[in-house]
């Protein structure tokens, strides 16, 4: 999420968090995103960030999102969103190729 504009409506993706984030982490992520997208300079992104925070800070709303937000009719391609299909694998597999003559 480094340097990325908030994408999608998933509040966790917008704030760059995992679903396991606690209240403190949510607030910290929100404040960090506010610095990145201040309302006067990036109003659209700010609104996304704010809506995401409002949803996640309320524990009941957060729970409802966790339980009921999944959309069974969502386009299958949307499952690739947020998942980097180009995986970082470390230097090992690359060096294995470079060692071959």
């Amino acid at each position: 999420m480094n340097g990325n504009a908030p994408a999608s409506s998933d509040p966790y993706l917008v704030l760059g968090l995992t679903p396991a984030a606690n209240d403190e982490q949510i607030r910290a992520a929100y404040l960090a995103k506010l610095k990145q997208y201040p309302p006067d300079r990036a109003p659209a992104e700010f609104e996304l960030v704010r809506d995401a925070y409002e949803l996640l800070r309320d524990r009941r709303r957060r729970a409802r999102h966790t339980l009921f937000s999944v959309n069974p009719d969502a386009p299958l391609e949307s499952l690739l969103e947020g998942m980097d299909t180009r995986q970082f694998v470390g230097p090992g597999p690359w060096l294995a190729v470079l060692k071959e003559r």
Binding site: T66, L76, L79, L80, F88, P91, A96, V97, L98, K99
Partner: protein, 927 residues
């Protein structure tokens, strides 16, 4: 080498001297070099040995060394390092002058042994000839792949440019393969363009570009890598990963790199798009083929992603009724039935919006819960557990009773199957509400639980819920108010007062508490008045007078009306006149009349007492309306049912439509409820028209309209109920939503059976999902229906089609329309699809009054038979004209009831009792 080959070589070598004897040195040298070029280093070496043996010149020695070099290179290529090193030792020994010529082979052996110090050490000599430097650097470019080792060689000083460059590159390489790195971080000034490690810089940038999805940039950097360098070995794999054409066969290491680091999305996206198109066709064969292709394309991607895809595809296919075994085969086996999958399945079932699917969804949610707790999604008894339980409880509560019974039977038969088979049937709403309240004890959850429990018998069920609420949230007044009400209904007045006192202790100023106190006191006074115990009633009235006012003068007015009844019971006409005058002065003649009439009715004095007469025709319509509303507001607040005289309907309706009508939404709704109670549906309808026109409290006005519409206007009733419930839910108005659901719920088996005249399944309304478009359509159209509907000229609303969509484009519906269905199309063989059930086609009913159900007909016939013939004739005429049966009976009975205490009236009453006239329906059960 085999003995035969040895013999061959020996014979060849034996031949060579003989040939060499004839061949000149130059020809023999050419032959040796041919062998070297043809990669036959052993034969070349043998020939060179023979030539040197024959000639013994410096040239032949040089040729021999050349052959030795080739042989050592050959051994190194075969990985025979020990043999190559031994051979090098022999050459160094025999031909010390040739040591320099074997430098590159020596470096190669050093490198293979990991001895980079020896391989690159000479670079530390500033006097190293340029040619040697170039050879070493070329060696580094072509052979060195261990950058950290190169950065750590001790034969070069730490500040040597090679070591510095190697260290910087090692760090950069690790960074770009482990995470996203921007170009700015890869400037690497330590690595010059001419450095033998230059190609590594290009490789690092290529990898960074790849992960940033800048494929064009990546390809540019790959082109900049020298062909003979170590980094060039990664080009085929990276070309394949960027979607280009790679060499036909990748090595095992290259395959592995592509598998793990490759862009699976680029391969999967087209396959997923094809699968979406197949789903849109709703045909089994294309779906299965496309599913198979999609999973194959996902072969190399992350295992977790692949499993998610399988789960989603299975659920999508299942919702389209593709047989489960076929889907599983296409997906390569069963999917993982973890919490994620079960949640997905439950949501998919909910989207079907049928009662059976909701029931299945409830069961799946229970399975999800068990799995989610196991997988640590949340803790049992935690907030999420509570939220989930509440959600499922509301779903289960809306299910029709017969379906719940059927699912329960299914559960029992399931439970009988062998050991270990766990009955995971439909959970009960009560159990779910209890779990919700225990896990997340907040007022909304308790209120919903209580609303559910109130519909159950015995009363202890609801009382238990209220007690639990009280226990878990001791500062909430709502459970106390409920318990107070419940005790009062059972005539346990002492207990009721006890609860009221407890509520007052918590929050005396709470408007709900004050209202409840007033209602309890009023109820007590009414009871005393019915029993004609005026001395006890007086005490209650004095307590009422002590209750703080909400609107000025109202408490005093209520007390005055009650005193009027007391005076009636005591036969004190003078007191009655005085109180009438007081009331008229404080509330106006209209409100005074209605209040007194209401208290007379409540105290069961209507056959003996008469409210002060009022000629409505002589009162301006606006004043009549204001007075009626005032009385209704007070009655609603105090819990006193205000009845509006039938003769007031027209003037009240006229007053409502005046441009100067000052009523707000709350006042209009109160008036509307009073109209319904007074069996004046046309007045209630007009209230809803004015209210909807003002655009406020649409949910409340639509609910009012739904109950005021004639029974035969099914589509409109359905639409209004649907829209009002949806709006109430969206506004989180649980009180209103509860009232609407109460109005929709069919009577429970153990409840009093009223005249239940629902011609359609109200449970469908309760569970129907409503889109914003449909909501807007209903609201818009209902606003246009300003006039109370009558049979002539009635038109069905346009939104009726949206509420009950006709045949769609699916294969089953196309078949029904007689259209061709393609081969391979699967058909839905589940005949229990509620949505396709056209048993209750609105067209059949939404027109002239339909024939009453057999049961109702029988009851009516019996009833009419016991009435005086002229009265029965009038009732029949009213029914034939389209009037509501209950309304007609009530109206005609009132008209025909003889005035005064006459024998005729007592005879009539006896006949009426014999006819078992049904009691007037209460609000909410009119229809």
């Amino acid at each position: 080498m085999s003995q035969k080959q040895n013999k061959k070589n020996t014979s060849a070598s034996k031949t060579a001297p003989s040939q060499g004897d004839t061949l000149s040195f130059s020809e023999a040298a050419a032959r040796v070099r041919e062998q070297i070029a043809g990669q036959h280093s052993q034969a070349a070496l043998q020939m060179a040995k023979d030539v040197h043996k024959r000639c013994g010149t410096a040239e032949s020695e040089s040729l021999l060394v050349e052959a030795y070099q080739a042989r050592i290179d050959g051994l190194l290529k075969l990985g025979m390092m020990v043999e190559a090193k031994a051979l090098m030792g022999i050459v160094n020994e025999r031909f010390p002058a040739a040591a320099q010529r074997l430098a590159s082979q020596r470096r190669e052996i050093h490198a293979l042994e990991g001895n980079l110090d020896a391989a690159v050490g000479p670079l530390g000599d500033p006097n190293l000839p340029a040619e040697d430097r170039e050879r070493i650097e070329s060696f580094i470019r072509r052979r060195i792949h261990d950058l950290p080792a190169l950065a750590a060689v001790s034969s070069l000083p730490p500040e040597h440019s090679l070591r510095v460059a190697a260290a910087a590159l090692a760090t950069a390489f690790k960074a770009v393969t482990e995470g996203r790195v921007e170009d700015g971080s890869l400037a690497l000034p330590e690595v010059s363009r001419r450095s033998p490690l230059g190609p590594w810089k290009a490789l690092a940038r290529a990898i960074a570009s790849y992960y940033r999805r800048e494929d064009e940039e990546c390809r540019k950097w790959l082109r900049a890598i020298a062909d003979d360098s170590v980094p060039a070995r990664s080009i085929p794999a990276m070309t394949a990963m960027c979607g280009g054409k790679a060499k036909p066969k990748l090595s095992a290491a290259e395959e592995k790199l592509v598998t793990f680091a490759g862009d699976h999305g680029a391969v999967m996206r087209p396959a997923l798009a094809a699968l979406e198109r197949a789903f849109a066709t709703k045909k089994q064969r294309p779906i299965l083929e496309a599913a198979r292709a999609a999973i194959t394309a996902a072969d190399r991607c992350d295992a977790k992603l692949r499993e998610r895809l399988r789960q989603h595809i299975l659920v999508r296919g299942g919702m389209l009724r593709v047989p489960l075994p076929s889907m599983q085969t296409a997906l390569g086996g069963r999917v993982l039935e973890d919490a994620y999958y079960l949640r997905l399945l439950a949501r998919a079932l909910e989207e079907k919006r049928t009662a059976e699917a909701d029931a299945e969804a409830a069961m799946v949610w229970e399975k999800f819960r068990a799995e989610a707790i196991k997988e640590n999604w949340f803790a049992a008894g935690g907030l999420e557990d509570g939220v989930l339980a509440l959600h499922v409880a509301r779903m289960v509560e809306r299910l029709p009773e017969e379906l719940v019974e059927e699912m329960r039977d299914r559960e029992l038969s399931f439970g009988k199957q062998g050991k270990g088979a766990q009955a995971q049937g439909l959970p009960s709403a009560g159990m779910l509400y209890e779990r919700a309240a225990a896990s997340d004890p907040h007022p909304e959850a308790f209120q919903m639980w209580l609303n559910w429990a109130r519909k159950r018998k015995p009363y202890q069920i609801a009382d238990h819920v209220a007690e639990r609420w009280r226990l878990l949230r001791p500062t909430d007044v709502q459970p106390l108010l409920y318990l107070m009400e419940s005790a009062e209904k059972r005539s346990a007045f002492k207990k009721s007062l006890g609860y009221l006192e407890a509520a007052e202790k918590l929050d005396r100023l709470n408007p709900e508490v004050r209202r409840a106190k007033l209602r309890l006191l009023l109820s007590t006074v009414i009871r005393h008045l019915r029993q004609r115990k005026t001395h006890l009633a007086l005490g209650g009235i004095e307590q009422i007078e002590g209750v703080p006012e909400v609107r000025p003068g109202e408490i005093a007015a209520l007390a005055a009306a009650l005193r009027w009844c007391m005076a009636e019971a005591d036969g004190d006409k003078a007191a009655q006149k005085r109180l009438e005058a007081e009331l008229t002065e404080s509330m106006g003649s209209v409100s005074a009349h209605l209040l007194i009439a209401a208290t007379v009715n409540a105290a069961e004095m209507k056959y003996t007492a008469k409210a002060p007469p009022l000629k409505a025709s002589k009162i301006p319509a606006a004043e009549l309306l204001a007075g009626a509303v005032k009385a209704c507001m007070l009655g609603e607040w105090a819990g006193l049912a205000i009845a509006l005289p039938q003769g007031w309907n027209k003037p009240l309706i006229a007053a409502l439509h005046l441009p100067t009508c000052p009523l707000d939404a709350a006042q209009m709704l109160t008036l509307g409820e009073a109209a319904l109670r007074s069996l004046a549906p046309e007045l209630a309808y007009n209230v809803s028209s004015v209210g909807l026109g003002k655009g406020q409290a649409n949910a409340g006005f639509l609910f009012l309209r739904a109950r005021s519409l004639p029974r035969w206007a099914f589509a409109r009733r359905s639409g209004c109920f649907t829209a009002s419930l949806e709006l109430a839910r969206r506004e989180r108005n649980t009180e209103l939503a509860g009232r609407i659901l109460d109005a929709l719920n069919p009577p429970q088996p153990d409840q009093d059976k009223r005249l239940s005249l629902s011609y359609f399944d109200d449970a469908k309304i309760a569970s129907r999902a409503v889109s914003q478009e449909l909501l807007d359509l209903i609201l818009e159209e209902e606003k246009q229906f300003e006039q109370f509907p009558i049979v002539e000229g009635y038109r069905k609303p346009k939104y009726a089609e949206e509420l009950n969509p006709k045949l769609c484009d699916c294969p089953k519906c196309r078949a029904k329309r007689g259209e061709g269905v393609d081969a391979g199309t699967f058909l839905d063989d589940d005949d229990d699809d509620w949505e396709d059930d056209e048993d209750f086609d609105d067209d059949e009913f939404d027109g002239p009054i339909p024939a009453l159900s057999m049961k109702l007909t029988e009851m009516l016939v019996n009833f009419l038979g016991k009435l005086p013939p002229e009265v029965a004739t009038k009732v029949k005429a009213a029914l034939a004209a389209g009037e509501d049966p209950i309304t007609a009976i009530e109206r005609i009975m009132k008209q025909e009831l003889p005035k005064g205490n006459s024998s005729a009236s007592s005879n009539f009453e006896k006949k009426g009792r014999a006819a078992k006239i049904p009691p007037p329906p209460e609000q909410g059960s009119l229809f």
